[in-house]
């Protein structure tokens, strides 16, 4: 018999990089907070939905009367919320969703649920490195002892736990390849509000905008995907953010996601940094030094 499915919205993060509570932000066009949209999504498929918060944290706006589970595990991070919930109802399977994934919609959730079986973990594979995406995933009852054991050893990254233990991995369809991009910094938010949903078609250049030639530099997996480390490009884009949106939409470079940081002429740059002819522009994937 299939275990009942509970929904867990993770909203206990400190949003330190964003500087304000991500769950209370209004990111989609319907005027609802991120937490409200995500709760509605979970309510659509789960028998019982819970909101995961830190001890002492205020409830984000727009959450109504949802039942709250406060972290009762000291390991911190999302694992504390997930363990608290699974201990609350160890017989259930848990659909876990983070509050900073504004592009997860009913279609993505139904793909996830259709793909699950009785494996401890069912998750989408990251478009970047193929590892499981743990914060839009199903944790079956069999996941609880596994998570407890890792937590006891100080392993608190659910992504690494899933990768090590083996998860049932699902592929996102090409049309939904941006669905699991999260919003961590004011810059991610700015990119989203300026350019709309990732994956949307780029705005048509107005008339015959004179292009400027810039030098692009690539590193890491982006260099591998491009098959080159440098190239020249003529673009109508006026800012580095517009150039990014143009490339991401036109060329479908899978790694050009919201986690990418920008540099212009060997210095970090914000999306509104103006482009001049001859500029050197680098889009940097998430760093992994050390």
């Amino acid at each position: 018999m299939k275990p009942p499915l509970r929904g867990l919205l993770l909203a206990g993060g400190r949003s330190t990089r964003m500087g304000r509570d991500k769950a209370s932000m209004i990111l989609r066009g319907n005027g609802q907070t991120q937490a409200a949209n995500a709760l509605r999504l979970l309510e659509g498929s789960c028998a019982g939905v819970f909101l995961s918060l830190r001890e002492g944290q205020e409830k984000p706006e727009g959450c109504g009367s949802v039942e709250i589970l406060r972290d009762a595990v000291s390991c911190g991070g999302p694992l504390a919320g997930i363990l608290t919930a699974m201990r609350h109802d160890p017989e259930a399977a848990w659909l876990v969703l983070a509050c900073d994934l504004p592009f997860v919609d009913a279609e993505v959730v139904s793909l996830l649920l259709a793909g699950r079986d009785d494996a401890p973990f069912t998750a989408f594979a990251s478009a970047v490195d193929g590892l499981p995406e743990p914060l839009c995933a199903v944790y079956g009852p069999a996941a609880l002892p596994i998570l407890e054991e890792h937590a006891a050893r100080g392993h608190v990254c659910p992504r690494h736990i899933m990768a090590e233990e083996g998860a049932r991995l699902l592929q996102l369809p090409a049309a939904a390849r941006h669905a699991l991009e999260n919003i961590n910094t004011p810059r991610d938010l700015e990119m989203m509000t300026r350019f709309g949903d990732p994956g949307a078609a780029p705005p048509e250049p107005a008339g015959k905008t004179p292009g400027r030639e810039v030098r692009l530099g690539w590193f890491g997996f982006l260099a591998e995907q491009r098959g080159r480390r440098e190239e020249m490009l003529v673009t109508p884009a006026g800012t580095v953010g517009e150039l990014f949106a143009e490339l991401a939409a036109r060329e479908g470079t899978g790694g050009l996601t919201s986690g990418v940081r920008f540099a212009v002429n060997d210095e970090f740059a914000s999306p509104d940094h103006p482009l001049k002819a001859g500029d050197k522009v680098v889009f940097m994937p998430p760093f992994s030094g050390g």
Binding site: L10, A11, G12, G13, R14, S15, T16, R17, K22, C75, G76, G77, P78, L79, A80, A98, C99, D100, L101, S126, V128, D129, G130, L131, P134, L135, V156, C157, P158, R159, H160, A163, E164, E165, N182, N184, G217, F219, G220, F221, E224, G259, R261, A263, D266, E267, F268, V282, M284, P285, P286, F287, S288, G289, G290
Partner: protein, 150 residues
């Protein structure tokens, strides 16, 4: 205060850095060595390549060393390797020297955390089964140093 950060081809020679920051007025010297681990996410790692955006990495690394030296009143330096490394090889070295150990420990910890977060360096792993992968930074640990889970 001493400021030094570099991106250097493997293998690293840290003797000059140790000598540069050791000082008779510093009774505490803490260093951290990041070495290549032979496993990642349950897979056996046989080789690892680091690449860096050197121009920006050295600028940002120098800013980090300067900020943390000033904050804690320590002498500090750091170096990150690029090139082809094997398990056990030295990938990054961070050192902080201060009059007393508290400042040296705190500065050393902050230096390595900031370097991992802010310096454009990328890791490419090769596994025992011949597969390879670029590693993206981990956002899910949620430890005291990285509390920003959703």
């Amino acid at each position: 205060m001493n400021v030094d950060f570099s991106i250097s081809q493997h293998p690293l020679d840290i003797t000059p850095l140790r000598e540069a920051i050791a000082s008779p007025d510093c009774g505490g010297f803490v260093h951290f060595e990041g070495r290549v681990r032979n496993h990642h996410a349950g897979r056996a790692v046989t080789a690892l390549r680091y690449e860096a955006y050197r121009e920006l990495a050295e600028k940002e690394g120098a800013r980090i060393v300067a900020e943390i030296s000033r904050k804690h009143g320590v002498r500090a330096a750091a170096v990150h390797a690029v090139g082809d490394l094997r398990p056990g090889d030295l990938a990054v070295w961070v050192g902080a020297a201060a009059a007393h150990r508290e400042a040296a420990f705190a500065a050393c910890r902050e230096l390595i955390d900031a370097i991992k977060e802010r310096v454009p360096v990328w890791k490419h792993e090769t596994y025992a089964d011949g597969k390879t992968s670029w590693i993206a930074g981990c956002d899910h640990a949620g430890t005291a140093g990285n509390p920003d889970h959703p």
